[in-house]
Amino acid sequence: MSATTTGIATGVAARIRHRVPFVEGAALAVAVVVVAMAAVGPLVAPHDPYAVNLTDALLPPSAEHWFGTDANGRDVLSRVLHGARVTLPATLVVIAASTVIGVLIGTVAALGGKVVDEVLMRITDIGLSLPAIILALGLSAALGPGLSSAVIALSVTWWPGYARLARTLVREVKDAEYVDAARVLGVPQGRLIFRHILPNALNTLYVQTTVDVGAVMLVISGLSFIGVGAQVPSAEWGAMIAGEANNLTNAWWAVAFPGLALLLTALAFNLVGDWLRVRNDPTIRREAR
């Protein structure tokens, strides 16, 4: 009897541990904090992120300014808090837009004829065979520098991966028995696609988008750092680093903290995404990661 109890007890402990492992739990917490920062950051920020105060320029971290101040005397902590509000929505727009484009193209390729499939997949190949940051750089330069240009440019360069994935997933599902059954029952084509095929096909794709949040975020702030994304006074993390890079040697804090925020956020989303992916896919769950 006691053997069974301990057996059950370890079983339960293992289940809980399996649900949310420690590292992933911490990552999830960080991700939640960043999202919360994006939502309420301005309310808890101790100072105005844009208030210039040259007498307080480049102050080291102190009780008044936890992360110090930048060359214009702006409070770095407030700007870092505010940055979540700029970077995160931009990232989500890119992910959402490229998911829509990718799913559309992938689905049409999977359900359309052979010729349509071939043409769309060759276009996808072109997109996949070039570095996204370079295409996005060219596009947003052509559109005129600005965060919205970077977001548009990245959206139109990021979708090919999703298109290919969506095509594979839809092809897997479209001949499933329940789809056949619905077809035989006379469910119209549109309803068949949107109600029967896509919801079942795209789970894996949604998980992939979570994995990509970190990567997209890094590209967006990279573009801002170069100067084609968010422009300098903006409290976008990449732009903040670009604006303060000149003062690196005498005021490390104005560069270090925005980057740290970026690193931690990307790390948190990567971990959460990885965890979801492993949970979602029983075949990789078995292997030790």
């Binding site: 570095p131 750089l137 052509a142 750092f225 990307a266």
Partner: protein, 348 residues
């Protein structure tokens, strides 16, 4: 094998054509009227129309695209507004320095990732494996440009062991032969300058390599795990071969095939990432050139850089395929990509 190469070449041509279309579209979304810009502020409507006709801007888009393709095929990427030189000349002058950086980063990448991945697989599930996982996670989440700045802060500004920026210390000179500073120093027989150039190369190369190490280490680890659990490894162990011999000679040799594909792809990606690294370290190169061009609103220079990096990317992919053929004799017979060999062992 010939079929495989042919298919590869056709795909590459399609990709390059796509690249041409994309860059052409970039020239089309330029804000403002290029004919008016070229004709000058005070030009009359007739003058603007004449300029538009001369530049071919009044012709249908399709015609303009063909003209654009014609210019590209002749190596005409337009003229840089900023340097007033043909973009192709500018880019050709900048490329060697970037190639030098990319190769240095690649050496670091391989030197770190392959042992790390191998060791992690060998110690599967233990502390070393966890440490390797942590490093790969950090690498994947690292903002490249920020890492560069932090390394500068630590090693150049604080510890003063490496130079902060540039390619060569003030007052040193190397002959202009290849355009790669360290190579030129060697060719010029100047060892002091060579050491100096390498010292300038260390931080940027580490920065550039950092985000690529993660992927390679992960690939090596997973293919190494597969290799180490295979029959031929058991056989090698059974013959009494030393562990080092088993892991490196038998395991790694096979595990490196998938990694080599990734490494080849990464050459192109790294060249793209120079836009984030070169300007941080004040190096000249194609990445820094692209960034300056962007800031100067020098669209043809930007597009030229995009084109050249795209072409290098495609060439790197072809090279990868050739290396694959050489590494993996099975491909030569199947005429396709590596097929998964059937698992022979019965699952427990």
């Amino acid at each position: 094998m010939a079929r495989l190469l042919l298919r590869r070449l056709v795909t590459s041509v399609v990709v390059l054509l796509g690249l041409a279309v994309v860059t052409f579209l970039m020239t089309q979304v330029l804000p403002g009227d290029p004919a008016r810009a070229a004709a000058g502020r005070n030009a009359t409507a007739e003058q603007v129309a004449a300029v538009a006709a001369r530049l071919g801007l009044d012709r249908p888009l399709w015609d303009q695209f063909l003209a654009y393709m014609g210019r590209l095929l002749q190596g005409d990427l337009g003229t840089s507004v900023f340097t007033q030189r043909p973009v192709l000349e500018d880019v050709a002058a900048m490329l060697p320095s970037s190639v030098e950086l990319v190769l240095a980063a690649m050496v670091i990448n391989i030197a770190v990732a392959v042992p790390l991945g191998t060791y992690a697989a060998w110690r599967n599930g233990r502390a070393a494996d966890a440490a390797a996982r942590l490093i790969t996670l950090l690498g994947a989440a690292m903002p490249v440009f920020w890492l560069g700045l932090m390394l500068q802060l630590l090693f150049a500004a604080q510890l003063r062991v490496l130079p902060l920026t540039g390619q060569l210390s003030f007052g040193k000179q190397v002959p202009a032969i290849t355009g790669m500073t360290s190579v030129d120093a060697l060719l010029g027989g100047d060892l002091a300058a060579f050491g100096d150039a390498v010292a300038h190369l260390v931080l940027p190369a580490i920065t550039l390599a950092a985000s690529f190490v993660a992927v390679v280490a992960r690939t090596v680890r997973s293919s190494m795990l597969t290799a180490l659990s295979s029959d031929y490894i058991q056989l090698a162990r059974a013959t009494g071969a030393s562990e080092l011999r088993v892991v490196v000679l038998h395991g790694l040799r096979n595990a490196l095939v998938p990694a080599s594909t990734i490494l080849g792809m990464q050459l192109g990606w790294m060249l793209g990432s120079t836009v984030l690294v070169e300007s941080v370290f004040g190096r000249t190169g194609i990445g820094a050139y692209a960034v300056t061009a962007v800031l100067q609103n020098d669209l043809y220079a930007v597009i030229g850089t995009v084109l050249v990096i795209g072409v290098v990317f495609v060439l790197a992919n072809i090279a990868v395929d050739l290396v694959q053929l050489w590494l993996n004799p099975r491909l030569r017979h199947t005429g396709g990509r590596a097929r998964r060999t059937a698992r022979t062992e019965v699952p427990a």
